[in-house]
Symmetry: C2
Subunit: 628 residues, 2 copies
């Protein structure tokens, strides 16, 4: 069997990659050891950025409705009299940073929702109870990305009954290749014990700490007042984290002794053992449960892999390249964000609309994220082990960072082939300026800048109105994950004549027959899948009632069979009657003179320029776009 992409593993990372392939029409096979989605337990944290990403595939509302939104975080400790008390309560997600707040939903549900969407596509097959057992690479073909060459040969075999338990990690008993899959690209999304990673001779590097934690998913019956809030509780009997979940479930992370861990395992993983540790910490509050749904005990490890891809052909994502404690609820998020970063690049190269060199940026962009994730997890774990009465400054800071750099909101990729440098400009021959007020582009956390536009970071959202109908839109939601680039012209007050002339001039440049923008869109007429095309949007700040959409340049009004032209590409930053709005320019940090913002297909900002910067824009794109 020949496929474009072979994905090993149908967990969150594998299914996110498969979702991209489904959306962009890439022939893909997913093989997975387990017979169905995760049943209970495992990951449950959904950061704001992850929900934004799911929303870009049309799955945001479903996930948001099903999940529990974790509004508060409470820090509890002992008073000097020894009573447990709430020391602090605050917002778990910083207001204004995202349309969504940190939420919880079991991995089981996430996998089911992703899988349902993936299977709607005729391009992707998911084969369960199937494992890879051999890898053969035709080295002479590696450098040529022609679509008839399939240099990655993977032998796969069916896994016999009874159901193979992936958590055991071994595969020594599997014998006999049943079939060889010839693939152009191979993705290892196969977890901490990744078979693909091992074939490449790569290891997770780092250390384990000799500390065990119990995890318990329960339906609690208690008089503890914050049971439906996220809590960190520090007591003389150990430390505990409470995470309210979907349905009426609550997840608990509890510090356990070596003795207790041993007891748990000799008693056939009896969740009651962990429950007793929880009860001890929670006293004097009563703490029981109507049902215990899942439990485990893990030893904290902090490890990552220094190489995320090889030959621009084989890629590793998710737990295959970073493992850490689950306490910050990051795992499922960073895993899905890994393959979300990779998917559009792969699809673009396979469709022949981008140079294969963009595949190098996967490692370049995600390795620093993996490294930071591990460093961050060490801080969170150290904080959780602290003495019973302290939440020191670094622990508090780390908790705040969860929703920024770690969740993806704060991540700004460094300049590379698909992220341009921000350059200084001159207006009127002398006055120097940057096209946006906020020129910071580093990866560091910038708590007050999540609303601003930053090169390499994800496009933030703001409420804007449709020019044609005044309907409110979250701007970020317009930029769906289709494989298209999104080119947003912030035109300023186009009712002003001078500003209008600048827009007309820009439109002329974009619609010239030589414009690369125009070349990218010729593909649109030939294929139903818009991978590598470029959609142009205008977001102006003039008075909506003074602008006639029909009189704007044609580049902002692409043809539409039903209505002559598409009314949906022009937005205005005015206040709505009903739901706010009118603050996009201010929040984004856009100057009145406007700017150009180019978004990659993953909503990350690739280029920022002045309205006259069509030349540097063309130059930037020409290095990426393949000749058709």
């Amino acid at each position: 069997m020949q496929v474009d992409v072979l994905i090993v593993g149908a967990g969150p990372a594998g299914l996110m990659a498969a979702l991209w392939m489904a959306r962009t029409g890439i022939r893909t096979l997913v093989v997975e050891r387990n017979s169905g989605p995760t049943k209970a337990g495992h990951a449950d944290g959904l950061e704001s950025r992850t929900i934004e990403i799911l929303d870009s595939f049309g799955l945001g509302q479903k996930v948001w409705n099903k999940s529990n939104h974790t509004i508060d975080i409470c820090l509890w400790n002992k008073t000097s009299e020894g009573a447990l008390h709430r020391q602090n309560i605050s917002a778990n997600s910083k207001p204004g940073w995202s349309r969504f707040q940190e939420s919880t939903l079991g991995q089981s549900q996430i996998e089911t929702i992703l899988l349902e969407q993936v299977l709607k596509s005729p391009y992707v097959e998911v084969r369960r109870r199937t494992a890879p057992i051999s890898l053969h690479i035709i080295e002479t073909e590696l450098g040529n990305h022609r679509n008839d060459l399939h240099p990655i040969h993977v032998g796969i075999t069916a896994i016999p009954e009874p159901e193979f338990d992936s958590t055991l990690g071994g595969d020594a008993t599997l014998e006999g290749t049943k079939e060889t899959i010839q693939a152009r690209y191979l993705l290892g999304c196969d977890g901490a014990h990744s078979w693909v990673r091992k074939q490449l001779g790569l290891k997770l590097e780092g250390a384990s700490r000799d500390v065990s934690w119990g995890v318990l998913d329960a339906f609690p019956i208690t008089d503890f007042p914050d049971i439906r809030r996220r809590c960190i509780i520090k007591s003389e009997f150990g430390n505990l984290m409470i995470i309210p979940r979907e349905r009426k479930l609550v997840r608990m992370y509890v510090q356990v002794s070596a003795g207790l861990a041993n007891d748990y395992s000799t008693k056939n993983r009896d969740p009651e053992v962990i429950m007793r540790a929880v009860q001890k910490i929670m006293q004097p509050y009563r703490f029981g449960a109507s049902r215990l749904e899942w439990s485990t005990i893990y030893t904290v490890g902090h490890r990552y892999c220094r190489e995320l891809s090889r030959y621009e052909r084989i890629f590793l994502a998710g737990d295959a390249v970073h493992t850490h404690s689950p306490k910050a609820g990051q795992g499922m998020n960073v895993s899905m964000q890994d393959s979300y970063n990779l998917g559009w690049k792969l699809a673009s190269v396979i469709h022949g609309v981008a140079t294969q060199q963009i595949l190098q940026t996967y490692h370049q962009e995600r390795l620093p994220v993996a490294r930071r994730l591990i460093e961050f997890d060490k801080r969170i774990c150290r904080g959780m082990l602290d003495a019973e009465n302290t939440f020191d400054e670094d622990h508090r800071k780390a908790l705040v960072e969860e929703n920024t750099s770690m969740s993806g909101l704060g991540i700004a990729y460094e300049p590379n082939l698909v992220v341009a440098e921000l350059t200084e400009h001159k207006a009127n021959g002398t006055e120097k300026f940057f096209p946006i007020a906020n020129e910071e582009t580093s990866l560091s956390t910038q708590p007050d800048r999540m609303k601003a536009i930053r090169l390499g970071a994800r496009m933030p959202s703001a409420l804007v109105l449709g020019q044609a109908d005044s309907q409110p839109h979250e701007l970020q939601r317009v930029f769906q994950s289709t494989g298209e680039w999104h080119f947003v012209v912030f035109g300023g007050d186009i009712v002003d004549e001078q500003q209008r002339r600048r827009i007309d001039h820009l439109a002329n440049a974009l619609s010239s027959p030589e414009s690369i923008v125009r070349k990218m869109n010729t593909r649109r007429l030939l294929y139903p899948i818009p991978v590598g095309c470029l959609s142009i949007y205008l977001v102006h700040s003039g008075l909506r009632t003074e602008v006639d959409i029909g009189k704007l340049p044609g580049v902002f009004r692409p043809p539409d069979d039903d209505t002559g032209f598409d009314y949906g590409k022009v937005f205005v930053d005015n206040e709505s009657y009903h739901v706010g709005g009118g603050k996009a320019y201010e929040e984004f940090g856009i100057l009145p003179r406007g700017c150009l913002v180019l978004l990659r297909p993953d909503q990350h900002i690739a280029f920022i320029g002045d309205l006259e910067d069509t030349n540097p824009l063309e130059h930037f794109l020409e290095l990426i776009v393949s000749e058709l």
Copy 2:
């Protein structure tokens, strides 16, 4: 065949009634002449209140997502130089009155969504191509509402191929009873030519005006800048209304001459005839269409029926009791609101949890609405016929009223068996007060009071937080249409000791074994369907972090198998971190001392009292509730 309820007609009114029956588990047969839902055209306007009602059945989000939200209304006329110009643009739905704004969605879609939900119930059967042909009433059984008596006998017959066109209205060709349906109750939701109404010897009374209007559903191609906004255009060539719809459709109402109407009918209802009238008015704007989806021409009539029910056994709803021009987009709304008003009453009587006398309130409550609808429509039509350059004050006023009294937001039913009188109270023996700041209860339009709580009116919404988890909730959304009454205790600042004592005292009274509230809820333990039960909610205004839900009286924490008690009945009027809130008391007009608010199963306010008013509340409920 014996059923509890026979519904004639599966249009919006019939299906809304069927939805109640489905939800409350009432054996119901719906018969309908047509072979499927409406295909195209017909009604399309959805007022805010109608979407609120659909949301109370869990269908609000679906309808909201599918519909077009009509944000602006524009008035266009000719300048003194004869050019068409926009004279005014403003909000089509007054900000703040509802969570939803006036929207448009074809009747076809509405019927499909309702039907899909109805058919999920095993209690309701929908039989198509079926018409009633005989009515026989066992008069001796009429007064006894025992559930084994079925005094309404309706002969029904199948309609032969080819498909019967209900718009022709005749049924003379139908012969031969195929089956007799023995029903306890009969609903005539069978349109302007209602067969049921005719059997009762009732007529629609009123007049027709000799004015014809053309209706055209088209996908327009035009340079008119407001094509995606609701517009009223007055020109020397006649008047026109533009209503943007779902998909890219636009509906137009255009004044046509007798000659044109004749032309249309002789040319086999050629939509191009109407299109030419539109084009003439729209000049100098170009106006074409890529497709014409539906058209009709109608003559304006304003008629209503003076009797909406007979024997408390047979009820008429929708177009069967009021017909008028479609220009205000009211028809589908008032029709669904008719049967929404009736459904819970019927279900309560059939389940034996309410006295049959509440059925009288259907006529009492809905006749004034029908009468006002007809008066209102006359004003709207007169306004539309006005000279080309004026939008007089009454016309403008009428346009505003569309979203208030007419849409249901402003309707406040007069005191009757299921709406108490508001009474004045004395505090501290002397000082007089009303339990809420706003004591107005009349049916008249009160544009600034849609956010306030008013006796007989629908419960408005406001954003409140869950006490247990701080999650934001639209309060109105909590009160789903299940057949339950909703009893909302606005407890004030319960952190204050005195206020807390009042709440404890109230809770004692409610949980006394003699309390009717307690009696109503004994049923909850016996039946899975909560019709006639009463859910108790607390909405307090204290600081959320100072209140421990587990220490509140048990009446606010009903038992829950999973978590000991239900965390979902206590809300707090505090500001949220992310989405506003904290203004419910202020907007509702509730004094700091708090009040009791009893909602009927249709979200209309039945009773308002002081926190100590358990006696008058019990007295009010005892007249309604049947002995079990």
